[in-house]
């Protein structure tokens, strides 16, 4: 088997989707680069977005399908909606999810509600690719996750892969999906590697994954938090505590059954989300467990999230902001011993 980084896996999924369906197009700021300098060698496709994820698409598929835009997210997100309704399968890039607020209307009120409020005759098969996450020393306006903003809105689907395998499989599905999907890529995971088979298949949306089976404590980890959860589980296994780690991967629809099954087994639960705490995914999952598995719980669920603050720039403060392996280990001990 070959190893791919998350970045490579996403790039591959994009290439395959472009090849398999000519209705797939991509719009975003500097997703290729070199617009306006077509006459100079070496300028075209020299960017591929700030992380190089979309590089090569322009060269292979041309400027009609790979469209660098101006800084007009409300404009081209709306255009994606209209294009999706009328036959294309647009992918649009929100360069950082922190820019959500300049184009939230087109997703929340148009993409998400049109099928419903206009009588079900059409659908809006579009994908928003966006970059999330702290730990990059990128400051308050380039480090948020904002999962819950999108997950709150009926009509949207929300997906956030942890590793390259899931990234490829889920993006293939997202692009084929007939509903609008927000596909969230974590900037601190782009360079992480794992095996991805050559003939990687689409992974259905709405199916979580048990990243580590265990019997004592259930850890539900949101995207990058799987990294720390695994570290913590590994360490604590030395004390003979056996953790099960569940990565929901899709937050809407959420694979509730997978979560509940594990909770029923362990009765001890930790939910980890690097987002701000209030009305977060962590709140949602915790509330679901407490409602549906009340009698199975042996002790209170522990939520581990960022504090209710913006994301600070300075490393010691940002490290404090992000849930840590240490905090997770403490929580494991606490729920285990309760």
């Amino acid at each position: 088997m070959r190893e791919l980084t998350v970045k490579e896996a996403i790039n591959e999924a994009l290439f395959e989707s472009f090849e398999n369906d000519e209705n797939v197009i991509l719009m975003g700021e500097d997703i290729a680069g070199g617009k306006g300098r077509e006459n100079y060698p070496g300028t075209q496709d020299s960017w591929g977005g700030p992380f190089g994820v979309t590089q090569g698409l322009l060269t292979k598929f041309g400027p009609e399908r790979v469209r660098d835009t101006t800084i007009t997210e409300a404009g081209f997100f709306g255009a994606a909606v209209g294009a999706a309704m009328t036959g294309l399968r647009p992918i649009v890039e929100l360069m950082y999810v922190d820019f959500a607020g300049v184009c939230f209307d087109q997703l929340m009120n148009q993409a998400a509600k049109m099928r419903y409020m206009f009588g079900g005759k059409q659908s809006v098969p579009m994908v928003v690719r966006t970059v999330v996450g702290a730990g990059f020393r990128a400051g308050s306006e380039h480090s948020q996750t904002l999962y819950s903003l999108y997950a709150h809105i009926p009509g949207l689907k929300v997906v956030a892969p942890y590793d390259a395998f899931d990234a490829k499989g889920l993006l293939l599905s997202a692009i084929k999906d007939d509903d609008p999907v927000i596909f969230m890529e974590h900037k601190r995971l782009y360079m992480t590697k794992c095996d991805v088979p050559e003939d990687m298949k689409a992974i259905p949306l709405g199916k979580g994954r048990i990243r580590r089976p265990g019997k004592d404590v259930t850890i539900i980890a949101i995207q990058r938090m799987n990294l720390f959860a695994e570290e913590a589980a590994q360490k604590i296994s030395e004390e003979n505590i056996d953790c099960e780690i569940i990565d929901p991967r899709t937050y809407s629809p959420l694979d509730e059954e997978l979560i509940f099954e594990s909770v029923r087994k362990t009765g001890r639960v930790i939910v980890i989300d690097e987002s701000n705490p209030k009305c977060s995914l962590a709140s949602e999952i915790t509330s679901l467990i407490s409602e549906k598995c009340f009698n199975d719980l042996k002790t209170a669920v522990i939520k581990i999230t960022a504090p209710h603050t913006p994301i600070p720039f300075s490393p010691p403060m940002e490290d404090f902001y992000i849930p840590s392996t240490k905090k997770i280990i403490e929580a494991i001990k606490k729920v285990h011993n309760a």
Binding site: T70, T72, F76, G78, G119, G120, G155, G206
Partner: protein
């Protein structure tokens, strides 16, 4: 202007349908026999009909909350429209949309948006799709004078020009955005000059003259397609209706309303009928037919079944586990 008799018949029929329809809506609004907000478009008939008469049946449009006229002129089923306003299960959106969101994808209506300036970006997308797929459908987005300051309009206009997208930005300048007069809120001398920011071709026309609207739109479609460029159209008229039914309209001076009535688009179209070889009997006949149709649509709607409460859970997504919709 050469317009064939069929189209002329269609034009008069639609003009009267919209007017009769909206008058009936005003009545039932007073009696509070329908739920929710109602935004009627009395005074907009010539714009709705004039633009649509230049478009083909399967061209793409977007509308706003003030959409009855657009829907009627885009040949949506009158009974279904009415039933939707009554919130009935046979409504054009199955009762889920209501007056503000009347829309029929099968008739090329991409949507009626409650958010000011939400339509232009969406129609830009449909037009982009036509361009990419080599399609021939034209695209037109309707919006009011109030939308021209809004960022979403500007972003769509800028992209349309940059990407050489043939489409029409159709602005109905009816003198008011809610309780605010257009002549106050404009920065440019003429509203259409907003298009200068995009070096976009723009034209202005009398929104009370259905034939002028028709001709300007027809020419603009040809030019837009030929030059592969968006075109901005401003049609001036007057908003006789309030912002919504129930609006006291105190901010509209009475003398202004009286003055505007002289240019009522329906009155004007009747005055012009002889130029187009319509006898007054023919006009009356159309009116009678149309009024019957409107009345039938309301009779129909009033007696239609309500949706089931649980229908609220339908068609949120194409695919989503039903049990997770709670």
């Amino acid at each position: 202007m050469n317009i064939d008799k069929n189209k002329l018949n269609w034009i008069y029929k639609k003009l009267f349908t919209i007017r009769f329809f909206e008058e009936r809506i005003k009545k039932i609004a007073k009696e509070k026999s329908v739920p929710g907000y109602l935004h009627t478009c009395i005074g907009s008939e010539a714009i709705c009909v004039g633009v649509m008469s230049a478009l083909s049946d399967d061209d793409w449009i977007s509308s706003t909350y003030r959409n009855h006229g657009h829907a009627i002129a885009k040949n949506c089923e009158l009974k279904q429209i009415t039933s939707e306003i009554y919130g009935r299960s046979t409504g054009i959106c199955k009762g889920r949309g209501g007056s503000m969101h009347i829309s029929d994808f099968d008739k090329g209506m991409l949507g009626s948006f409650g958010i000011v300036a939400a339509g232009p970006p969406v129609v830009l997308g449909a037009a982009l799709q036509e361009k990419i797929n080599g399609g021939t459908k034209m695209s037109a987005t309707f919006f009011g004078d109030g939308a021209i300051h809004n960022g979403a309009f500007h972003e769509a206009a800028g992209l349309a020009k940059l990407w050489d997208i043939p489409m029409l930005f159709v602005c109905e300048n009816n003198g008011y955005a809610e309780a605010t007069a257009t002549d106050w809120h404009l920065n440019t001398k003429e509203l259409k000059d907003i298009a200068k920011a995009y070096d976009m071709i723009s034209y202005q026309g009398d929104g009370n003259n259905v034939f002028e609207v028709h001709q300007i739109t027809r020419d603009a479609i040809i030019e837009s397609k030929a030059k592969n460029t968006p075109i901005f159209l401003e049609f001036k008229n007057y908003r006789f209706s309030g912002q919504y039914e129930g609006d006291t309209q105190l901010y509209q001076p009475l003398e202004e309303i009286e003055e505007a009535k002289k240019n009522d688009p329906i009155k004007k179209s009747i005055e012009m009928a002889s130029e187009y070889n319509f006898s007054s009997d023919e006009i009356k006949q159309i009116q009678t037919d149309v009024l019957n149709e409107v009345n039938e649509a309301f009779d129909f709607a009033e007696t239609q079944p309500w949706p089931n409460p649980e229908d609220a859970l339908e068609e949120v997504y194409v695919n989503y586990p039903k049990e997770l919709l709670r």
